[in-house]
């Protein structure tokens, strides 16, 4: 369809406004990261200044930052991996079984996301204390599992719902067990869904601050905790380094999405049925 010039101009304008609103904080962060301390606090803000990479080199050479990135990676991979291991079979059963109460169960899982994190974290803190899980990888991975599991179950359930059940029935007729059908038929067809939900869940864990701040201390510091404690002081905030660290922290996520992009397109299940 051919739209009028006015309509196209308005659409373009709208896109530009949307992009600016979305990207403005990141742009501001980039500017701050490239400024010397004296330029950072100048008011009105300076848009013309002598750029410096001091902030980036300082952040990158800090051992704490590299350790935090490693911790974030471990917790992210751990919680997503565990989440998939538990959540995918869960989603499969919710989607395919005719068990009574499966809808209620699915809704219960989702309802855990309706609670404010603080309601969950206070009792959790006590439990963790007794189980000696505080400030450990296991502890935070389990904590983040609470954050990502509902997402994994719900996304995968609707994804599996959309796969034609006859393909699985054909596999049963071919002699495959239920587990084999899950691993050899359902999962390969669900790769786009798995990739999408893994990426989303990883980002959730990567950015999570509240559980990390509460459940860990000195042994483990994920990136959000590191940034919130290292560059934010009682009286002052080190804007330059905080901004540089923030930008650097987004790099792995951006890379992840770029690498996985081709899987994020649905369509692998096309061709199974008419």
């Amino acid at each position: 369809m051919r739209h009028s010039l006015l309509a196209r101009t308005l659409a373009l304008l709208w896109l530009i406004i949307g992009t600016v609103i979305t990207l403005a904080p990141i742009l501001w962060m980039l500017l701050q990261a490239l400024k010397r301390p004296i330029d950072q606090i100048a008011f009105p803000p300076r848009f013309v200044f002598t750029p410096t990479l001091d902030n980036f080199t300082a952040v990158l050479s800090a051992p704490g930052f590299r350790a935090a990135m490693q911790d974030s990676l471990i917790v992210g991979v751990g919680s997503v991996g565990l989440g998939l291991l538990l959540g995918v079979p869960f989603a499969y059963v919710l989607s395919r079984s005719s068990m009574r109460g499966r809808f209620e169960l699915a809704e219960f899982i989702l309802s855990t996301k309706m609670l404010p994190a603080i309601v969950v974290v206070v009792p959790l803190l006590q439990v963790y204390q007794n189980l000696n899980l505080l400030d450990s990888y296991t502890g935070l991975i389990l904590g983040h599992l609470l954050v990502v599991l509902a997402l994994i179950v719900w996304v995968m359930r609707s994804f599996i719902d959309a796969l034609p059940v006859e393909v699985e029935e054909a596999a049963y007729v071919d002699g495959a067990s239920r587990l084999r059908v899950l691993t050899h038929i359902v999962l390969p067809s669900a790769v786009p869904g798995l990739v999408t939900v893994s990426a989303l869940a990883f980002i959730l864990s990567w950015n999570e601050l509240f559980f990390a701040l509460t459940l860990t201390g000195t042994n483990i510091r994920t990136l959000p905790t590191y940034m919130a404690t290292e560059y934010v002081g009682f009286l002052a905030v080190d804007w330059g380094r905080l901004s540089a660290a923030g930008l650097l922290a987004t790099v792995p996520v951006v890379l992840l999405v770029l690498v996985l992009q081709r899987y994020l397109v649905r369509g692998l299940s096309m061709g199974a049925v008419k």
Binding site: E169, A170, D174, G175, P188
Partner: protein
Amino acid sequence: MARIELRNVAKTYGAVDVIEGLDLHVEDGEFLVLLGPSGCGKSTILRMVAGLEDVSGGSIHFDDTRVDTLPTQKRNVAMVFQNYALYPHMTVARNMGWGLGLAGASNSEISSRTKLAAEKLGIYELMDRKPAALSGGQRQRVAMGRSIVRDPAAFLFDEPLSNLDAKLRGQMRREIKQLQQELGTTALYVTHDQVEAMTLATRVVVLNRGKIEQISPPLDLYARPASLFVADFIGTNPMNFLEAVVTETNTLRTGNATWAMPDGLSEADRRPGTALTLGVRPEHILLDDEGMLPITFVEKLGSDTVFRAALEDDELMVRCDPGLGVRTGDRVGLRADPAKMHAFSPETGLRLN
């Protein structure tokens, strides 16, 4: 290959009885077609034989083995689905050979048997393609190939041709028939298409609301329908039904028209005053030159012409030779061959002659 036997099989979903007390025998090597309108329970029966649905009562046997207690995997049946249900991430060769691999066949056996099946179905050059790169007819052939490589106890077809266009459907129908005759494997075939049923079956089971209306060879179904339902369901042009009363002169009266007495009626049914439902197929009505019935509607189909003639309260559909050149508004006389007339009980709907 096996004989399939359903004994008093029932299926209920909650409080709804879908199938009650169904008895059915499929002889070894037979091509049995389950025919009926949608919702008649035909697919449910097939799925119970396959083990994809549990039976709520009764039992299913392959030869002398009871199978309704066995899981699908142990029944050694092959099934072709309406939407083909190919494994989307596997090549054609893998699609066909996967089940053999599960059964423990060696790689060389798998490749030789899939090759044989693929050649038989004319899809050998497609072996490395994935389902997404195939046309509907090719997918259907792969689904067939997946069934025949395994040498199953029975083929189960669940409306396998419904998603194909008319021309391809006719071709696949012939191929399925030839393949089954060649292999001699027992086949159970579900369809709502009477043409498929008539052309494929050794016997047809007509189902209505979970009950068997009639089990017969295809031609008997057409020539001697056991009930009003079957009479109405079978036949390209629907049968004409008229409410009739037996007269004193051993004829039938429908409104102001008089018909010859159908052959084969019992003495009791021929008593004057008896009410019955008369059935005549459009192709079995004969034209007389002289007559009073006005033609209200004419459809010229090329191979033949179908027209409607008005009776007092009813309309008759008649099929005739296109050479007769009938036109709307013409008046004709009609009669029927007593040997090709059907009489049904108005109360039970069952055949009387």
